[in-house]
């Protein structure tokens, strides 16, 4: 396969509101046809970045290149970019059909073509039965689909989605995640989604960018971000992580209680520096083999069944917080554990990530 | 935005500033204005003759306010206690007369209170044979006219906080052993003070500056500040003194508004609590 083409280039873009810097020198490339997620806690600058892509904010510095052309100062109504608003922003006085046609009418297309394209997108988004309803007569999920259809019908080069699933309940959200993936595949348009929900971006995105305080921390595939977080913040923000604070040594971390955690030291850390060793809950095994690199015993404080998994809170001398361990229900059935038991935990050196603390 | 603000500035702010300035000038010998600075117009406001009119106005306006607030609060309470779907209708009809012409509403009272008016007819019908009672052109007639004209606003103002009141508060008070009267006095009344204050301020401010009602129902016998201002401008031709009187009127209005702000401020603490209990 040929190298995917870059569609959008965000080049050292900064934006400040008065003394507050919302976006601080971010550079990112977004590729043709990918599903890209901008992820971060609230106030990290992801929404400001999105609004700059849509044209509602102008960067103080840097360039935004779409197909190689700088659009940073192009007004929103002149960009081949559309935004799906968090509140959906449906026009309350127009029917579903009128909402969807609106953008094409702005392009002054012939009526017949507008009709054809609107019919097609209503069919794709399964909105045909609701075409003549007003927004107030729709459910949350239907409103969301109208907002999506209204943006997609313009066939933008880039579709921006601002927390698209935020207003839906949990069950509907799961279904809509898959629905969005399917639609994106079907229409072949590049999607950029803003979310604060790390699970959502892991599920949906082809690639994701993690932002904090207006800065880009990491940009990679969900798998790479999960398995090889760039720093302690990313490791903590994405998924669940157990941390053991201590000092860096040549072959791992020396915990406060004198225990050694074996793992590969990153090039940026030198022995003696304050460091934190980390391991994912699902990488920890109960009753490890004798040759396992890292072993520690602890007391089971609490157990929680979560369908397929069993989650354990195990108090160990390694860290002030109990260790989170996830084992399959199968494994738990083979050797049952209960609260109060003293058990041994173990994990491989290859599963340990070490960060500056 | 700009054209609207310009309009307000040119035709409200500037004229009002002009009146303020006017109050510091001397009256010319043959009417007109002599442009020399003086404070005597304000001195004249406190002259016993005029101060008396001020006090008289305040008394009439105060009485009208008190009566309007009592009747209006009772009506608002009854509306708020009516079935929910009836409330908007009742409220609408309570406020409707307020939007018909003020002069006509005042005139209606002349018809009622005239020597041979409806009230006299009614008394006759009940067998009264004496002289028709003189009701028109009395202080009572002026007060009745003011109450009648401004009552709808008091109902509206009192209804707002009453309808927002969490019914569980009254129930909690009863549950804790308070009587109906104590519950009203210690729970309901304090929480609805902002509405009462807004209604009272409205009636008082509009009454004390009124000149139509005293002129028509008082027959000119009961001078209020509004009439005094009117006379200075249209009959006595002493504009500087009229301006000083108008400024005194504005001063009274600002004082009353300040009192309202304080009353509302004190009460709003309670009210916020009362509502947050509902949210929680």
């Amino acid at each position: 396969m040929s190298e995917p083409r870059t569609l959008l280039q965000i080049d050292h873009v900064s934006k400040n509101f008065g003394r507050v810097t919302a976006v601080d020198g971010i550079s990112l490339d977004i590729r043709e046809n990918e599903f890209f997620a901008l992820l971060g806690p609230s106030g990290c600058g992801k929404t400001t970045l999105l609004r700059m892509l849509a044209g509602f904010e102008t960067p103080n510095d840097g360039r935004i290149l779409l197909d190689g052309r700088d659009i940073a100062r192009t007004p929103p109504n002149k960009r081949p970019v559309n935004l799906m608003f968090q509140s959906y922003a449906l026009f309350p006085h127009m029917s579903v059909r009128a909402n969807v046609s609106y953008g094409l009418e702005m392009e002054r297309l012939p009526a017949a073509e507008i009709r054809e394209r609107v019919d097609a997108i209503l069919a794709t988004t399964e909105l045909v039965p609701f075409a003549d309803r007003k927004p107030e007569q729709l459910s949350g999920g239907q409103k969301q689909r109208v907002a999506l259809a209204r943006a997609l019908v313009k066939r933008p080069r880039l579709l921006l989605l601002d927390e698209p699933l935020g207003a839906l309940d949990k069950k509907l959200r799961g279904a809509m995640q898959l629905e969005l993936k399917r639609l994106q595949h079907e229409v072949g348009i590049t999607f950029v989604i803003v979310t604060h929900d790390q699970e959502e971006s892991l599920v949906m995105a082809d690639r994701m960018a993690v932002l904090k305080d207006g800065k880009l921390l990491q940009c990679d595939t969900p798998h790479a971000v999960y398995e090889y977080p760039a720093d302690r913040f990313v490791a903590d923000f994405i998924g669940v992580m157990n941390f053991v604070p201590g000092k860096a040594t040549a072959d791992g971390v020396l915990a406060a209680n004198g225990a050694r955690i074996a793992g590969k030291l990153p090039a940026t850390l030198s022995p003696g520096a304050t460091a934190v060793a980390s391991v994912r809950p699902e990488r920890i095994r109960l009753f490890p083999k004798a040759q396992t690199a890292n072993r520690i015993s602890g007391t089971v404080e609490a157990l929680a069944y979560q369908g397929l998994d069993l989650q354990l809170h195990v108090r160990t001398p390694l860290s002030p917080k109990p260790f989170l361990v996830r084992v399959t229900a199968d494994a738990a059935d083979r050797r049952p554990v209960s609260a109060g038991d003293t058990i041994e935990l173990g994990w491989d050196a290859a599963d340990v990530r070490i960060f500056k603390d | 935005m700009a054209p609207a603000l310009a309009w307000l500035t040119a035709l409200m702010v500037v004229p009002c500033a002009l009146v303020l300035a006017l109050a510091f000038f001397r009256r010319g010998t043959y009417g007109g204005i002599e442009y020399t600075f003086t404070l005597e117009n304000f001195g004249l406001v406190f002259d016993p003759l005029y101060a008396g009119i001020f006090l008289n106005s305040a008394r009439i306006a105060g009485t009208a306010t008190l009566i309007a607030v009592i009747i209006g609060y009772a009506a608002a309470y009854a509306i708020a206690a009516a079935p929910r779907r009836l409330q908007p209708v009742l409220l609408f009809f309570a406020v409707l007369p307020f939007w018909s012409n003020y002069l006509i509403r005042t005139y209606a009272w002349i018809v009622l209170l005239n020597r041979e008016g409806l009230v006299t007819q009614l008394l006759r019908w009940f067998g009264y044979t004496g002289e028709p009672p003189s009701m028109l052109y009395t202080e009572g007639a002026v007060i009745a006219g003011l109450v009648y004209n401004y009552l709808p606003f008091v109902i509206l103002a009192c209804y707002a906080p009453l309808s927002r009141l969490n019914p569980e508060l009254a129930e909690a008070s009863r549950d804790l052993g308070a009587s109906v009267v104590t519950t009203f006095r210690r729970v309901i009344l304090p929480l609805t003070v902002p509405g009462i204050a807004a209604g009272a301020v409205f009636v008082f401010v509009l009454s004390i500056g009124n000149f139509v009602t005293p002129a028509l129902l008082g027959g000119g016998r009961f001078q209020m500040i509004g009439n005094l201002v009117y006379d200075q401008f249209l009959t006595a031709n002493d504009w500087p003194f009229g301006a000083a009187l108008a400024m005194a009127l504005i001063a009274i209005m600002l004082l009353v508004l300040m009192a309202q702000a304080i009353a509302t401020d004190r009460a709003s603490g309670h009210a916020a609590e009362a509502r947050s209990n509902v949210d929680g």
Partner: protein, 273 residues
């Protein structure tokens, strides 16, 4: 936000309390409506006097149509109300949008907009009289219009602002995002959504202007040419009551009450959230 449960309504109260509350309501409504009802009834009274009912007649209405003073006053009122309402609706709506879009409510600005609604009429009236005479402006219908726009625009602005408080500004951005210019967005999105409030505000302004007496009285200038209907009514009440006034009062009340009822309709029929 508000108590979801129905407030302790009359149904849950004791019969005695319920009767007392209905009694209060009946008395208050009687107090509010009897004086008006008497006027309306008298306007159809053949004899025209409150002393005796001498039969139903429309003769006072007919005689109104022959009264040229009243007709010209009515025409003047209509001119003043229509023009001042048109100007006030335009300026007041733009002001409301300007304030709510920027979300800057300085205290001074708030006071400036609130002032025309609270200043005693007599004060604004003498202020404008002083102002116009200082400018040596010949007073007439045009000065009444200038004056009426002052309070009308404040009322329109407050009605439209109330609607804009619940306005979702993201639909304006959505329109731009879909390719609409600022003007198209105003015409096709903003205006249609706030239109009920704009109409309600305009009807309210019209009612206020039709009924306004004191400011018109002071800013009309000398001469009969610019007499408005309320001025005519005031003169009729003060200097000799003729039964015609009952008919005139009934018509004026009908007009303002219709306008207000329509205004309420529009304001309640607001679309969407």
């Amino acid at each position: 936000m508000l108590p979801k449960r129905e407030a302790t309504s009359m149904a849950e109260r004791s019969p005695a309390t319920r009767r007392a509350l209905w009694l209060v309501l009946s008395l208050v409504f009687a107090f509010l409506y009897i004086p008006i009802a008497v006027l309306v009834a008298l306007s159809f009274n053949e004899g025209g006097l409150p002393t005796a009912w001498s039969g139903f007649s429309l003769k006072w209405y007919v005689s109104l149509t022959g009264n040229s003073e009243i007709l010209s006053a009515a025409l003047n009122t209509l001119i003043v109300a229509l023009i001042s309402t048109a100007i006030a609706t335009l300026l007041g709506t733009l002001l409301a949008i300007g304030i709510e879009m920027r979300r800057q409510y300085g205290k001074g600005l708030e006071a400036l907009i609130f002032a025309p609604m609270i200043i005693p009429d007599i004060v604004l009236a003498i202020a404008l009289l002083s102002f116009f005479s200082m400018l040596n402006l010949t007073m007439g219908l045009h000065t009444i219009i200038l004056a009426h726009v002052v309070f009308n625009l404040a009322f329109v602005c407050s009605v439209v602002r109330a609607r804009l408080k619940s306005f979702d500004w993201s639909i304006v951005e959505a329109s731009a995002d879909l390719g609409a210019s600022a003007l198209t967005t105003f015409r096709r999105v903003t205006l249609p959504v706030i239109l009920p409030a704009v109409i309600a505000g305009a009807l309210l302004a019209f009612t206020l202007s039709v009924d306004e007496f004191i400011i018109a009285f002071f800013t009309a200038g000398a001469g009969r040419a610019s007499t408005t209907l309320p001025m005519q009514i005031y003169a009729m009440i003060r200097f000799g009551i003729t039964p015609e006034i009952n008919a005139l009062a009934t018509i004026v009340m009908a007009v303002s009450i219709t306008a207000l009822t329509l205004s309420q309709r529009f304001n309640r029929g607001i679309i969407g959230q």
